[in-house]
Symmetry: C2
Subunit: 134 residues, 2 copies
């Protein structure tokens, strides 16, 4: 069943179905929180090649199958799903537990005093906390 989802996802993006990619996809489909490289490596087993894994993470990201975020310590984490474009102002809620990113409407316009000479183009707000699932 997950394999069906996986097949579709990969085929939609013109990505070949390799063992690693199916396994990698399973990681993301079966985990509700964002995964760091060590997390993924541990789930897939030691035999997985580092560069191949990174290349696939990049390919998945490129294909909007997963997205990458950096936590407060600057550690890269990967999670299923895509983050839509930061074109206009909007807010992201990042769960500190599962690192899931939720997009939400901003209730109030943010008013910031930027110093003279600074030109504001977009304002992005990141709310950190605990989501309803955790």
């Amino acid at each position: 069943m997950e394999y069906v989802i996986g097949d579709d996802l990969l085929q939609q993006q013109g990505l070949k179905r390799t063992k690693l990619r199916m396994a990698l996809l399973d990681c993301f489909l079966n985990t509700k929180h964002a995964l760091s490289y060590p997390d993924i490596k541990q789930m897939l087993g030691e035999g997985v090649d580092r560069s191949t894994l990174y290349r696939n993470l990049a390919a998945f990201e490129e294909a909007d199958i997963i997205h990458r975020i950096y936590d407060q310590s600057g550690v890269a984490k990967y999670a299923f799903g895509k983050v839509h474009d930061h074109g206009r102002d909007h807010a992201h809620f990042v769960c500190e537990q599962c690192e899931t990113v939720y997009c939400m409407e901003k209730a109030t316009t943010v008013d910031i005093n930027v110093p003279k000479g600074f030109k504001t183009k977009t304002i992005q707000t990141i709310i950190r906390g605990i989501c309803s699932d955790c």
Copy 2:
């Protein structure tokens, strides 16, 4: 408001006045934006030892002389001043041209409606635009 010069800042924290520390302090006192390790290294010159520099950055951070932030690409940046109340009133301005990160005070508190079950802990705002230098 009084401006504390380097000597006082270091002595207040029981830190010895070494050449590197004075120079490092100058970097932060004379720059209004956050600096990455390469930025600092370039300002101080090639002769500076890597581990000594990192140790001093850690010491300064410990002493609340500077604070560390990670930008959207997970790159560590250091800036003068201490971090305020867990980021609630903290905003970062990121210049789209020079990628420089400026720390600034928020004029208005952001008020976001998070869905039921979501618990907000910190709110961080990232403003993108063009800085006064660009």
